[in-house]
Symmetry: none
Subunit: 202 residues, 4 copies
DNA sequence: TATGAATGAGGGTTCATTCAT
DNA sequence: GATGAATGAACCCTCATTCAT
């Protein structure tokens, strides 16, 4: 009796739209990408697109949510070794990070977050989870004497995220620098930042 | 006879427009701010505005140039003391940096730089000058033994700029954190990053 | 074998749709109410709705027909007493008339009738029946000497309908006036209008 | 220094737009007439139209205001003779009233007033002025014994306006009836309504 | 210099309607 | 009978830009 609504198909279409939107946002920016562009990219009419999303803002928000959660999920995986190594290996294992283009959208979101409360909340929510995990790891490191005990774990975790998110700036600002260079520098920086001072080690 | 072109007056008007544009871009984003908004903000008709700038892009580009050069000029002033202190005091003396809103435009520019070659060049050019100055300072610090000799001055300088530019992310991502906190953390981080390792000091 | 078409069920569905449409037209106007609104109100998919009506216009037309016939049917019931009393009691017994909102749709239809020939015909057809009944009553009243013999029954009947249909205007135009007030005034007006002049009565 | 803003020219353009809008609203209804239609009718681009009016609603509202004030202004002119004659001569002197098409828009406005508060206020405001004048005339008539003293002047005035505004219904509902017929009927009706009862005349 | 009139393409969104299932 | 996917034209409105004065 009638065509049955297939939730997976519905979600599939939503995903297609989000992917198309992501590509367009990447090329033209959040405001520069138009609905009709996204429709063309997704091979879909505007009326149909609005069957799946109520507004462009809704698309941006969900895209932001998924993008950030994917981006930051890498932090969560537990590995062994000294704390700094664990942290950094996790950080650099973010697959999309080796593609300058793919992470460029972060700046769009940061810019948007300055104006759009919903996007700011999404950013904050997504960061919060990662921050907790990082803070835990840092506390464990402090217990083992691998991380300076003078650092506030919560704030330090926030700082680390900001630093990592700042990484894609370098290739933009300095044409000559590559990803490996900036990664090595970042690694060194974080390692030195975390390690206990000589005085404490005794 | 006839009206003489007064270059200073001309430049004055351009400055007014750029200021108005800056305020609008801040509130609505580079793409969200319209020419008519800027006209209203500058108390000027569109026809008149186009007498001073050939296009909106030209306004954005010049605004970016002035904004970035102002932002980074603070690096250039020479002071005394150990290198880290000098660097950091310069960094934090950036007046606009204590206002979250004022530096939000940086993200707009970074986002734009990912798409717009002209803006990327402007970003690169502006950063280049500062990088050279910072690298000089770093080299001097290495000579005096205040800065780790294992660090490449050029790359480290780039890193420092990225780090500082990343600062405004924190309040966006972590609602609780203030400017003072993030500044203290950044300061500690940079100081530890730069200082020579215990082994080297001997 | 196979499903048998059940005409009553079919008509039931049509009625549901018309009722839902009526509610929507009331709230948003004939043009302001959309098919998707009506579908939601009727708890029905668009495809299904189009199984019962070929177009939105068809819905409007049938709704108009039913609405007007319901509205004017009240005129038809015969009662006893002097003609004016009969007429007026019938007029005011129109149940939906005591709700400003419910009769608002009449204006929509009158406006539409000015443009849409089909709707105009529906309006004319529905009025015609009532007019005949009223004219009969008026003629009977004239025979009994209760109604002025100088009045043309046909035209007077039309006039009366217009007057009654104009009633809902008052609350719209004069915020302070209520339904009871306007009803009393109308009653007095019609009574005076119909009654024979003193000279004639002798 | 620069093209001077000529207020008359500006107002002239506004008037042109309102006239074009009026014609379109007449043909297609308030909601059925689109901005692009109005633009075409006014020989103007949409961008330019929005230079003169901030929204379609603003156009509707001003059109309503001007239309109603023109329509009702005829009531205000003082003439001599018995009150009923004065009133009716004023009423029927409404020039646009002899053109069925021209007054059809009233129904659009009444329908709109049921949903749109702004339009309702405009309707109420415009009616209020006329009501006061009519009430005055009625009171004068009562003093001279030409109008029944039992009638409340305020409410009766409202009633009269409603009746007159209802006039254009007749040709819509009864195809055979012309303007002269309906006018004669209305005149007779109002005259009988107002005149003192025989008992009072003594 | 300086103004505001003027353009028309394109913005996001909704529409009545059709179709495959 | 009944669903929801799918369309594309049209909706109101804003845009960067040009032009006559």
């Amino acid at each position: 009796m009638g065509r049955v609504r297939v939730p997976e198909q519905h979600e599939g279409k939503r995903k297609e739209i989000l992917d198309a939107a992501h590509r367009c946002f990447l090329r033209y920016g959040l405001q520069g990408a138009s609905i009709s562009m996204i429709c063309k990219e997704a091979g879909m009419s505007p009326g149909h697109l609005y069957h799946y999303f109520p507004s462009k803002d809704a698309i941006i928000e969900q895209m932001a949510d998924e993008y950030l959660s994917t981006l930051h999920t890498y932090f969560g995986r537990q590995e062994t070794g000294d704390v700094a190594t664990v942290l950094l290996s996790e950080i650099w294992s973010m697959s999309s990070w080796d593609d300058t283009a793919h992470c460029r959208i972060l700046f769009e979101l940061l810019a948007e977050a300055g104006r759009n409360d919903r996007v700011r909340d999404i950013l904050a929510d997504n960061t919060a989870g990662v921050r907790k995990l990082l803070a835990q790891t840092l506390r464990a490191g402090q217990a083992k004497g691998e991380v300076d005990r003078g650092l506030d774990p919560e704030h330090t975790a926030a700082m680390l995220i900001a630093i990592v998110d700042a990484a894609p700036m370098l290739p933009l600002m300095v044409p000559g620098i590559g990803f490996d260079e900036s990664r090595k520098l970042m690694t060194a920086m974080v390692r030195r930042f975390l390690e206990p001072k000589a005085a404490e080690q005794s």
